[in-house]
Each structure stands twice: as C-alpha cells, then as structure tokens.
C-alpha cells in the first residue's frame, strides 16, 4: 500500500483541484492539470510496457496521434458522439498495435527501441501528409465530442479525465498483480524460463502492447477534446521521448511513478517557464540531478522516506 500512497494522495489533491483553482489561477490551472492528467494516462500505459514488460517503446506517441486524429477527423466530419469516437479509437489502436507489435516484439533491447521509433515516425509523416485535415499546421476542432451532456457541466471534462485516470490507474495496478501481470513481470526477468514453463511470452507481450496502445489512444482522444486542437507533433519522436522521460522521472515500474512523473513534468515546465524564457537552463540540470541523486525516480523518494 505504501508504494501506492503518493498516487492516492495525488488523486485526492487532483479531485479537489477545481475547488482549489478558485483561489489559485482559475481555469488556467485546471487546464494545466487536465493536461498533466492526460499525460499521466499516457505515461501509465507506457509504464505497462517499460516497467512491467521491460519493453522500451520509443514510438508510443503514435497512439496519442491515433486517438487525437480519430477524434479530430470524426468531429470535423460531423461524428461527435463520444462513444463512437472512443470505439473507433480503440479499434484503430488495437489494429495498429497488433501489426506493429507483431513485428517489433520479435526483437528486443535497442532493436526494439529503434523499430518502435520507426513505426512512430511513419505514422507522424502520415499525419503530416493529411492536407485535408490541416497537414503540419494541425487541425482546430470547432466543437468537443458529445459526451451525453457530461462536458456541459462545470468541470465536466475535468472530472471525466480525472475519472478515467483513476480508473486506468486502478485497472493497471490490478493488472500488475494479476496472473497476467505476474507472467509479464517474470518474463521481463527471464523470458526463456517462462517459455519452458509453458508460457508463450510473445502472446502475453503482444496483449500488453495492445492494452498499452489502447490506453494511449484514449489519452490521445482526450487530448483532442481538451485542447480542441490536434497536430502531427503529438506523434513525433520528441513526444515519445517526453513520455519516456516522464516515466523515468516518476520511477520505472513503481505504482505511483507515472502519475508523479507527469504532474512533476508539467508543473515544473510551467513553473520554470513562467520564471524565465531560458527555463531549459534550469530544467536540464534538474533532470541530471534527479538521475544522479534520486535513483528510481521521484516515487522512490517517497517510498524511501516512508520505509
């Protein structure tokens, strides 16, 4: 339970955020937090690959792009029903994950990193070529998806994202402790042994890859609705890199890691850049210090202190 505590505290804090924001910068802050929560969802899905399976995907942002463009194109074409959009997003994410996963998962280590990068970049260039939908400029959404009135409530979108974040966190937390999760964790350490125990590791990893892809796809669809704007940059390698950074920053394979990592990433970036335009001069060294002096990421700081 201890490892989960920081995440739970963060959730309580997030739940109260719209209230707190009344005193602290208003809708600007809730917008910021919404983005952090979406980033956390994407990071949670990536940590299923990195932390649970030991698979470092450098093309995970491809799924963000899939979700965002599905939402963007659907809404532009007049399909605003949220369930339909999420359905299509999940369908395409599954398909893309099955095809690219089936190829990538034959490799491991650096080869896996680079081959996932390749697929991510292919998708990035595909989105950039979609002239009808803004090409490189991106696509402005003229309305949000219709969520059966949910988004019309004050903070409706906020609590939708929050609810999904908590649900996905719980889901993945359970998954990690399930039969399936134990197989993945063991295969990360010794996949040969798992094969000889009777587990077709490839199938388990592919399933995990698909699950991670679907969750990231949902995060992408949320991004489109939150920002009301999608662009190919969402699926570029820089974004995949950001996701890895968030996961490592928070603590790979730690229950609270991705959530802490995402919150810290967004808040630090925002806080520092409001101090100076050259905020990277501070942020860069800060990352180095975190690596050198906080092994295991931010989550480990909390764990150690409480232990």
């Amino acid at each position: 339970m201890r490892a989960a505590a920081p995440a739970l505290v963060a959730f309580m804090f997030l739940a109260a955020m719209p209230l707190l924001a009344e005193f602290w910068g208003g809708s600007y802050v809730t917008g910021l937090i919404m983005r952090a929560m979406i980033l956390a969802i994407a990071a949670l899905s990536l940590d299923l690959l990195i932390g649970t399976c030991g698979l470092v995907s450098f093309g995970h942002a491809a799924f963000l792009g899939i979700g965002a463009y599905t939402a963007g194109i659907a809404i532009t074409e007049g399909t605003t029903d949220l369930a339909t959009i999420l359905g299509i997003t999940i369908g395409i994410s599954v398909l893309f994950a099955l095809v690219t996963g089936a190829i990538s998962l034959r490799t491991h280590g650096v080869t896996f990193i680079m081959i996932t990068l390749a697929f991510g970049q292919m998708l990035f260039f595909t989105f950039s070529a979609l002239s009808e939908y803004g090409g490189d400029d991106g696509l402005t959404l003229w309305e949000r998806a219709y969520a059966y009135g949910l988004f019309e409530f004050e903070h409706g979108l906020f609590y939708t994202i929050f609810g999904l974040l908590v649900a996905i966190w719980l889901l993945l937390d359970r998954l990690r402790q399930s039969r399936f999760g134990r197989v993945l964790l063991a295969a990360k350490e010794n996949s040969t042994r798992m094969e000889t125990l009777g587990y077709g590791v490839f199938g388990y990893r592919l399933t995990a890859y698909v699950i991670a892809g679907v969750i990231a796809g949902i995060a992408g669809a949320l991004t489109a609705n939150e920002a009301e704007f999608v662009s190919p940059a969402l699926s570029a390698w820089q974004r995949s890199g950001d996701l890895i950074i968030v996961v490592v920053l928070g603590g790979v394979g730690r229950r609270s890691g991705p959530v802490l990592g995402a919150l810290a990433f967004v808040v630090l970036e925002e806080g520092l850049s409001s101090l100076t335009h050259d905020w990277r001069l501070i942020f860069g060294p800060l990352l180095i210090f975190i690596v050198l002096f906080a092994k295991g990421g931010l989550a480990s700081l909390f764990e150690r202190r409480q232990a």
Binding site: L117, G284, K295
Partner: protein
C-alpha cells in the same frame, strides 16, 4: 531524370552519408564499448559547428578555427564526461537517457543564449570555396567534394586505428565483451574516457566541416542524432565497418528517396496525389529501411560479435 542529376544526387547522398558516419562512429563506439546511450552526442555536433564559426570570427582563418574548435569541443566533452557521464556508466539505460536529455536541453538553450536564435553562416576556406562546372548550367560545390574526401580519409584512419593498434584492439574487445577487457587489467575508466573524447571530437569535427553548407542553429544536432541512431542499429552496434556502410546507405536512400519517390509515384498516380504521398513516403524511407533490416537481421547488418579478429 538526367544522368547529371543522378550523379549529383549520388554525390549528395555520399556526402550526407559521410557526415552521418562521423557522428555515428563515436555513438556506436560509446554505445558498443561502454554500453552508454549518449543522447547528447548530437549536441557535440552542434557545438563543433558553433565553435568553428566563433573561432573563425576571432582568427579569420578556417583551418585555425577548425583546430581550435576541435580542441574546445574535446575539452567540453571531457568536462561533461567528468562531471556527468562517468557517474552514469553503471546505471540503467533509461537513467542515461534522462540525464543526457537534460544535457541536450541545457546546451541547446545555452547556445541560443550565447549566440542568439538566428542561424549563423560561415564560408569554407578560400581555396575550397569555389564550384566546378558539371554541365553547361550547373556547378557543384568543391567543399562538398572535400567533405566526401575528408570523410573517407577519416574512415580509413579509423579503420586503421581500430584494427591495427593496441588501443583499437581493446576497443574492439570491449565492444564484444567489456567485462573481459577489465579482467585483462586494462584501466577501463581511462579507455572509456579516450573512446568518449574521441567520439565526441569526431562529432564536433562533423559539425565543423558541415558548418559551411548547413546553417548553424540551436538544436541542429537533434534530428541528426536520431538519424545517427538509425545508422548504428542498421550497421550493427559497435561495428565501425557496419556503421560506415550503413551511413552511406542511409545517406543515399534518404537523398535518392526524396528526389525520386514523388516522380516514381507520378507514373501511376495523379500528380496532386503523388505530391501529397511522395514527400511523406520519402521522409519515411530511412525508417522503412531500418524496420526492414531489423526485422530480418535484428542485430544489424554487421554485428560486432560476428566480426573476425
């Protein structure tokens, strides 16, 4: 397409390949020998270019600027190695990624603060600055030819260094089995420092000689870094020969792809459709190449382990 055009594109492809090789050679050695993923390697390329322009402004002599830039780039690399990187060698790859990413952020911004956001330009040394006539109305830059020749010379030297000298032998052994080299009583720390400094200097050198043809700007090394990673995994990590061949391959595929794919598509597609799909496909070409190579040969074309002594 005319034969002159093809010739130019071949030359351009080789020239890009040579630059990629200079960057990727250090990357593959550092990665192969030390198992260290250095994302900040691309920044070394940028630093090399900036320092060259800077020293050129001070000395007014390209050769002198090049030399000074190399020394300064080496000094910076060794400082970074001492201050940051050496604490990361026995850490997880992901920790290395995070920390070296921090170095990129810092140096890109620092360069912008020091030299401003506007691209800088520099001319090649006087005697290589001209062009020579390829066809009636087409000239080709001598400096580009010079880059190709310099690149091949460096590749040759590197080959000699790695295959014929003691330190090269250690490096090769290290690429196959780092633990064993340590067991032989070699000072691994020092070997690492030499390999690292040397690799960084090569990248800086690439930046120096690229400065006259590309504009010198903050973040100029980021895109090339990713391409260099593509090169080293295609070539097989730790293999100089593989890196050289892969660099030329990637340079040629990228250059020829960009100039021919759209035309080829135009043969059986509407021009507007071809213009939309062609450039996107051309941008993907090297990634498709990489995915294909890795699919059939996950260890790359010339894995270091397979090399004969």
């Amino acid at each position: 397409m005319s034969s002159t055009l093809l010739l130019i594109q071949l030359l351009n492809g080789i020239q890009l390949g040579v630059l990629l090789f200079l960057i990727a050679a250090g990357l593959t050695l550092v990665f192969g020998v030390m198992g260290f993923i250095n994302l900040a390697h691309g920044v070394q390329y940028m630093i090399g270019a900036y320092l060259t322009v800077w020293f050129y402004g001070m000395t007014g002599h390209f050769g002198a600027a090049l030399l000074l830039a190399l020394l300064a780039a080496l000094a910076l690399a060794l400082f970074l190695e001492f201050a940051v990187f050496r604490h990361l060698y026995d850490r997880d790859h992901l920790d290395q990624v995070l920390a070296t990413f921090g170095v990129i952020l810092f140096l890109n911004q620092a360069v912008k603060v020091i030299w401003g956001p506007t691209p800088l330009v520099i001319s090649p040394p006087e005697f290589l600055a001209g062009t020579f006539r390829l066809t009636e109305n087409l000239n080709y830059s001598i400096w580009r030819i010079a880059i190709i020749m310099i690149g091949f010379t460096v590749a040759g030297l590197l080959w000699f260094l790695v295959t014929k000298t003691r330190i090269g032998m250690l490096v090769r052994a290290g690429a196959t089995n780092a633990g064993m080299v340590g067991a032989l009583g070699v000072n691994i720390r020092r070997l690492f420092m030499i390999v690292f400094g040397f690799g960084a200097m090569l990248a800086g050198f690439a930046g120096s000689i690229a400065a006259p043809i590309y504009s010198v700007e903050p973040g100029m090394g980021d895109g090339l870094l990713i391409t260099a990673f593509v090169v080293i995994v295609i070539g097989g990590i730790g293999s100089i020969r593989g890196t050289f061949i892969a660099a030329l391959l990637v340079g040629l595929v990228d250059t020829l792809g960009r100039s021919t794919i759209t035309d080829i598509l135009k043969l059986f597609l509407e021009p507007s459709a071809a213009n939309q799909i062609g450039p996107a496909l051309a941008s993907m070409a090297i990634y498709i190449l990489m995915a294909a190579v890795l699919f059939f040969r996950p260890e790359g074309l010339f894995p270091a382990q397979g090399r004969r002594a």
